[in-house]
């Protein structure tokens, strides 16, 4: 099993992701520079957080046209697992691999804090190590995580079960009070229709070891590995 971490100019969570896969999950992992044009031998790709291209124009708008992106899209199309975290999520939205777009946080502030998330399903490649409706704590760190899509797209995602993580209270209450950025329907993470591409604003790679204050993020990577080994 081989993971790839795609590195764009301005990515800054690439090493964290690499570290977690290599040292914590103990699986093979390689960096993939955004100027590469092909991908081979990878089982899962991670698009890490950061500020690719300085967030110029719109977050993810320029990275979406990096030379590696056609290969990432082919990989996703063929059913490969793709996890976009924070800026990686924004890139997946701009690339059209996931529906919707990001707006500035409703508070206009860059928010860096642990938040509670509800795991809406545990029958996916990304969440099979959790319990359904489990509440977990994972940190966010973003200025543009205010997810938006049109009402028809939101309904489609609800009907297809594409909403995987929602912001909530420690008790699992999903109200605006516990929504840090104003996102539609408290959305923190969504999948594509086929369920092999996940975009999420929280950073599981920052919460996968006890020394960092918590390890609820661990189970996202563990779920992917579980799924790829065919036991998910």
């Amino acid at each position: 099993m081989r993971f790839g971490v795609v590195v764009f100019p301005g990515s800054n969570c690439d090493r964290d992701c690499y570290h977690v896969i290599k040292e914590v999950m103990e699986e093979p992992v390689e960096y993939i520079w955004h100027k590469e044009k092909s991908l081979s031998g990878f089982d899962a790709l991670i698009l890490p957080g950061g500020f690719s291209y300085g967030d110029y124009l719109r977050t993810g708008a320029i990275a979406r046209f990096s030379p590696i992106m056609p290969a990432v899209m082919d990989f996703a199309q063929a059913g490969g697992l793709v996890l976009g975290i924070c800026n990686g999520f924004q890139i997946l939205l701009e690339a059209g691999l996931l529906p919707g777009a990001m707006l500035r946080n409703s508070s206009l502030k860059f928010i860096c804090q642990p938040v509670f998330l509800k795991i809406q399903r545990n029958d996916t490649p990304f969440s099979n190590k959790f319990k359904s409706m489990q509440v977990v704590k994972i940190p966010i760190a973003h200025g543009e995580g205010n997810y938006y899509c049109d009402p028809r797209t939101l309904q489609e995602m609800k009907d297809n079960g594409q909403i995987l993580f929602t912001y909530c209270s420690a008790d699992g209450e999903e109200t605006m009070e516990y929504n840090p950025n104003g996102s539609l329907a408290n959305i923190a993470g969504i999948m594509n229709g086929k369920g092999n591409v996940l975009g999420m604003m929280p950073h599981p790679e920052r919460y996968s070891e006890d020394i960092l204050g918590g390890r609820d993020g661990f189970n996202i990577f563990a779920s992917m590995i579980n799924w790829l080994k065919g036991v998910g």
Binding site: L57, R58, A61, I62, F65, L93, E94, P99, G100, A101, L103, R104, N105, S106, S107, L108, N146, Y148, C149, D150, G182
Partner: protein
Amino acid sequence: MLKANIYVTLKNGVLDPQGEAVKKSLKILDFGQVNQVRIGKFIEVWLESRDQAAAIKELEEMSDKLLANPVIEDYRVEIVEVNQS
């Protein structure tokens, strides 16, 4: 050479947190009649071209592909200056 102005604005119904904050500031400055502020982007593009129709077509393609995000934004293209030199 042609010069184009491209106005990128948020679609109706898309919340604009920046516009809301600016509106509040204007109210604090006693501009009491302000009831809505929406913030967009203004992009200037200079083109090595003399064919306005072809330029507009190309500018629209640029906007669809990169300059605007059709999920949340609308855009308008205008050619403002034609230098015949």
